[in-house]
Amino acid sequence: MGAIIWIAAIIGVTFNALGSVALLRFPDVYTRLHGATKATTFGSIFTTLAVIVYGFVRWYYDGNPKYVILAVHAIVAVVFVLITNPVSAHAIARAAHRSEIMPVRAVVDELFNDNLAKKRGGTK
Amino acid sequence: MWTYIFTGSGFWNPIWWLASFVIVAIFVYSFFGSEVKAKYSPDKVKPFLSGWDEVNKDAMQVKASNIYWGFTKAMSGYYRFLDRCHTGIINDYVVWFMAVMVITFIAFITA
């Protein structure tokens, strides 16, 4: 069981580290969001998985209820991280686009075009 | 006993002071109170400004900024220094506070 915990933890930490590297490497806010929020989500899932496994294993061997509390709360935490993280990324991206921060090196920006068309249509 | 206070080198009693004040007042009044008073009449209240019309009453009042003009003029160097200290910028308030604290630190740790 120890091996599973270690592997999960290592995967999680690796992806978290990659997320921070992405923050340095990518040029603008949208691409950084890809790395910073989603890679870390994936990393967090695996680190939490390590915690969950650890909790259930210790509960099985020790019988002390505090480990199962740990595991259950970790499950609740990971569920809510999964639900809220993409929403926050979406909210940040939307706010950035509304503050007219355009994506760098973009080949096409259909949202911008559509908004422009809507604005022109509105003024006519 | 309720009215005495002792200051270490003497005492103070407001009742005595009041009593003496009243006595002196009566004394002074009895001497000078019998002088003939001028009769009040509305004409006499009007100021005589060497023939000019009386100006607006608002302008007659000495403005508060002009009272003690001589004093502030005489001490203008001091007041310029004070004005430089009272800048009204919040950062300077904190600078003064911290400066006093640092000076006190130095004074107290070396003392």
Partner: protein, 115 residues
Amino acid sequence: MFYDIHYVTIVFLIALGIYAVMFQHNLIKIAIGIDILESGANLLLIVLGYRNGGVAPIFTMAPQGKSMVLPTPQALTLTAIVIGLATTALMLSLIVMLYRHYGTLDTREIRRLRG
């Protein structure tokens, strides 16, 4: 004299907050400086109460045979945090009103009261 990274951090935070309030002319930055100052004071209380190898002073399913850290600073810090929250809330609303009146966030222009 034995310097420890925790103590240096505390003093650094306090000096940083004072620096922000003394040098910055933006009201929001001043508010941030005061918050940093508060964090320094809270960290001081917590650090003073640490005991080597101690666990949180809660008996519910605590680990066996470990000493507990001092509980009083934690209670004091709770109080100090709430006080900091209250101060920050009021400060930010005053900044909003100041901006409404003066149209600027620069302290050098918000000086109607002087002399």
